[in-house]
């Protein structure tokens, strides 16, 4: 894989960094909200720590963008409008993140988000950690280490809900079932790495397939399957 010119990285990479940055920020917002109404104090502490991690990742990705892309701070009017509507405000929102605006009304909703969307963002980061664009590798490698801990938490929280009596397992299943097509849509909007592969930024990789494979056992436990392409974009 050729090395990418640090002085002139492709704009598609800048867009991807912004999309991931804003996704991190939305995840942090949800984790903060749930940290003070979590099922236990220890869960709240874990969520607060996760929110801090996600905000730290957002900050690193912002710095990468600002230093790597000359027009990094520019936003279109449409982008600013979308940002205002979801309460993120300019200049923190990128359309790729806003394709996926979560509403976690219940704890199963939040656990589903932690498992499905945070996992999706992580898979995209892993693709960038193998990038030939040197400024990405170290910071994103560290993010991936922290995300491995988030996954343990998310998986443990899902296992906890699945083991409970009554309607709780079904609530988690329904939350995941509702999220899956939206995650797929998000992947298809943000996760097309073909232009970056052509530019030599990332090695040949299929993040969405890797994600579906990683998620397989969890989905199997819930008797769910990764949605077919024609379900993408469902809200």
């Amino acid at each position: 894989m050729p090395t990418v010119d640090v002085a002139a990285p492709p704009q598609a990479l800048g867009d991807l960094i912004l999309g991931l940055r804003d996704s991190k920020q939305v995840l942090a917002r949800e984790a903060v909200a749930w940290s003070v109404r979590a099922p236990s104090l220890e869960t709240g502490i874990a969520l607060a720590a996760q929110a801090q991690d996600e905000l730290g990742h957002a900050q690193v990705l912002t710095a990468l963008h600002v230093h790597g892309f000359a027009n990094g701070s520019s936003r279109s009017a449409a982008e600013r409008g979308r940002a205002e509507r979801v309460g993120l405000g300019d200049p923190l929102a990128h359309p790729a993140a806003l394709l996926f605006e979560p509403h976690t009304q219940s704890w199963p909703d939040m656990v589903a988000l932690m498992c499905l969307w945070d996992g999706a963002v992580t898979v995209m980061l892993e693709a960038l950690a193998a990038s030939s664009f040197a400024p990405l590798r170290n910071p994103i490698g560290k993010m991936c280490e922290e995300e491995a801990k988030h996954w343990i938490f998310a998986h443990g929280a899902a296992a906890d809900l699945m083991a409970r009596e009554g309607q709780v397992p079904a609530a988690l299943r329904e939350a995941c079932k509702a999220l899956l097509p939206r995650v797929r849509h998000w992947f298809e909007a943000i996760g097309d790495l073909a232009p970056l592969r052509r530019e030599g930024v990332v090695p040949d990789t299929v993040p969405m397939a890797r994600y579906a494979s990683r998620l397989g056992p969890l989905l199997e436990d819930m008797k769910l399957t990764w949605p077919a392409p024609d379900a993408a974009g469902a809200q």
Partner: protein, 66 residues
Amino acid sequence: MTVTPERYEVFARRQPLDPLQHLGGVTATNVELAYAYALTTFNEEKWRDVAVVSRRHIYSQTPIAG
């Protein structure tokens, strides 16, 4: 199935050859959650290794209170 929270003891060390040091405990319904809670509850220092063990796996002639 009833989910019963149980107590997990948390151990950690700073260096590979250090003995594991007991840090305290967390309450969780499964070992993954216990580990996640341990990482965030005892993060005032940078630990190289963190481990959790369910208290029911600790053998003692006398009950371990607390």
